[in-house]
Amino acid sequence: SSSEPAQPTDALAGSDQESLDKYTTEDTTPIEEIDTDELDLITDGTLRVGTLSDAPPNIFLEDGVFTGYDNELLRAVGDKLGLEVEFASTDFSALLAQVQNKQFDVGSSSISTTEARRENVGFTNGYDFGYMAVVTKDGSSVSGFDSLSESTRIGVVQGTVQDDYVTNTLGLEPVRFPDYNTVFANVKNGQVDAWVAPSQQATGQVKEGDGTTIAETIINTENFTAYAANSDNQPLIDALNAGLDAVIADGTWTELTQEWYPDRELPSDWKPGSKAVDVK
């Protein structure tokens, strides 16, 4: 994608939902009007969700159960719709194609909703935005986002919001890794100078005495994250949007967000769900 690189210092530049987010729906079908028999699901009554097993805290597997913020929120949405939610893990590079080809009904993986992806798969309204941290080694010269430059080796996980942010928003070239554990291990042994991480992931990984620090955390609302669904299955997208609005309206979204991201504040210029719903 060709979005104009912003000034590195101005991390929030352009994160204006009005102009950038032309895809967010005005409102949604009332949840009572959703007929779950019309959703063309793989198995009637069950949402089959493709996710990843190795990207905490958004999406991961714990004690044999798929969990994480994104998946717990999706479970809540499923509850509202009266649908079972069943998860299976895959590789991110395959996930969207698998959703579009109906191997999964929904893709849940903090998927950043870029233009390029929208050409191949459908998305719901946004439920989250970029909230990221710079993790460095103790005593590193990198002190925050504004000290990232051409000469910094910045680690990211390939295909994530952070990858998108560093590449397209900051206009820098990151070192891409397949998963969080490899990138974090590379920070620890100094192979990369900084890791642009999901903020909560950073908080979870960085431990007292392991020689790493969270240098700065920032919010980026460009290209919000959303669930993916088959682009031709409008009834399903409508139903998911309705469910999402419902969990936002009744406070579940806020509750979950506070549970998973305790220190994060909701930015004033962004909100989840359709334009009509009020965050409770």
Partner: protein, 256 residues
């Protein structure tokens, strides 16, 4: 913490290893074995058919075998797994109603394995002395019967080591089926180790999974060497008291 200690903790954290053990044992190991065995068996059968096509006197059959082999050996395994998973997934679901990734994963692994195994069998069969086919045909057996009764059984025996090596590859390649999508209980060794590593930010669980692989592959490697030596040296010859010539060492015996 110095770099070396850091490395030790990243790779050799006992607690992290012990924590992942139960999952490796009860989930990863059986699944890895199931995948490798099932696709090993199907791949062997399909490979045998491919080998027979590959040495057939019918040019069309030979070409089909050639192209199949080139494609399935030449493409990265992931591409094949994705093609099969996405291409046949819906078909399979339509027919059986099952959403399990295993049938598709096994199919994809079998297709890949069959291309390699086909080549192994073909070279084994072609290494059987021409005199064996000739002797069988001279008895009055047709070409087909001669292949089936005389040539193929000998060719197959010779390539046992290569077959076991192929099975070792399958054990390691089976981890790729996670590209098709696995529920928690369907994960094999590598995925179990990898997920645990993700959750803890420590790579020790991967090492633990690696040790499981070694426990599977090393005995097999030694089995290969054993079979190989035995095939090379030949069955130990019994001395024949009534015939001094029976004491000729194998290497000096008549070999076509």
């Amino acid at each position: 913490m110095d770099a070396f200690e850091q490395l030790g903790k990243t790779f050799f954290d006992w607690e992290a290893m012990v924590a992942v053990l139960p999952d490796l044992l009860t989930v990863g190991l059986p699944n890895t074995l199931l995948l490798a065995l099932a696709s090993g068996i199907i791949g062997t059968i399909a490979g045998m058919i491919l080998a027979i096509m590959g040495i057939s006197r019918n040019r069309v059959l030979r070409w089909i075998a050639r192209i199949y082999t080139d494609i399935f050996r030449g493409l990265p395994a992931v591409v094949i797994i994705l093609l099969i998973g996405l291409g046949l997934g819906p078909v399979l679901r339509e027919i059986t109603g099952s959403t399990s990734p295993y049938p598709l994963g096994i199919l994809a692994l079998s297709l890949i394995a069959s291309a390699y195994i086909g080549e192994i069998f073909r070279s084994g069969i072609q290494s059987v002395e021409k005199g064996q086919l000739e002797a069988s045909r001279a008895l009055g057996f047709s070409y087909g019967s001669s292949m089936q009764l005389v040539v193929v059984p000998q060719g197959v025996r010779r390539v046992l080591p290569a077959l076991v090596n192929q099975f070792i590859s399958l054990i390691k390649e089976s981890s790729l089926i996670y590209f098709i999508g696995l529920v928690a209980s369907e994960r094999e060794l590598f995925r179990v180790g990898n997920d645990a590593a993700s959750n803890t930010g420590n790579l020790s669980p991967l090492i633990a999974a690696g040790v499981f692989y070694l426990c599977l592959t090393i005995p097999l490697t030694h089995l290969v060497n054993f079979i190989d030596t035995r095939l090379r040296v030949g069955r130990k010859q019994k001395p024949e008291p009534d015939d001094p010539a029976a004491m000729i060492p194998t290497s000096g015996g008549v070999r076509a």
